[in-house]
Amino acid sequence: MKNINQKDYEKYVNSKAPKPTLLKNCIWAFIVGGLICVFGQFITNFVMDYGLDKKEAATATPITLIFLSALLTGLGLYDKIGKKAGAGSIVPITGFANAIVAPAMEFKREGFVLGVAAKMFIVAGPVLVYGIGSSVIVGIIYLLLKA
């Protein structure tokens, strides 16, 4: 066992580690992710019934979902859903809010500036960097193509 190289060791570990059942995970992700989107559709329809136009509804819906997810994360409920749902609870915008609140709570003892406020963006930061960054690039390319 002393001479085992890293590659063999990795193989050995992989053979012993419990195999996550991909199909089961996918079914859970599909159901939970789908249901979160159905709820989003419900909010959209609801606020449009109250006279918001399509653009306003496209803003009100994520705001509502983010609020609820941040609250459920604070209460410790969102992570319970996430245990089974996997990507179903990570990929929707609610997962984005969860990824903000969870580390921020965890690092509160490091203070309200370098703890809460800084750690909020451990996952959200990269998402904003790459999302906004790529949107600027798309804007510039579009401008050049149009000219």
Binding site: G33, G34, F67, G86
Partner: protein, 117 residues
């Protein structure tokens, strides 16, 4: 009917994320970054808009939908304001979500403490 479409489209997008997480070494953070960026690019080349028209919230609630808002916002802003729009369009279109995430995220993190497992 729009609920069924939202369920199926949203579910499929999440399954793609699940497969990426299970079959590759990508962490959830990597998947989110990948999905947002893909949303921006797919919107720019005109592929994501039809998915949104079909799936509604099923396409806009998952993270590629955030990229869709960024991409759509930037293109509309460039049409109206040119180069300035390339810098303002994305954030303007997603301002509500970003501000809500920052504000509610902070408030909830301050009010609540992590549950001990």
């Amino acid at each position: 009917m729009d609920y069924l479409k939202a369920f199926v489209v949203g579910g499929i997008i999440c399954v793609i994320g699940q497969i990426l997480m299970d079959k590759t070494k990508l962490t959830p953070a990597h998947v989110l970054v990948l999905f947002v960026t893909s949303g921006v690019i797919l919107t720019a080349i005109g592929i994501y808009e039809p998915i949104v028209n079909f799936g509604g919230a099923g396409a806009t609630v998952p993270l590629p939908g955030f990229g869709y808002s960024l991409g759509k916002g930037v293109i509309e802003a460039v049409k109206e304001e040119g180069l300035l729009g390339a810098f303002t369009g994305g954030i303007k279109a997603t301002a509500g979500g970003v501000a809500a995430a920052t504000f509610f995220g902070y408030i909830m993190a301050v009010i609540f403490d992590p549950k001990t497992k």
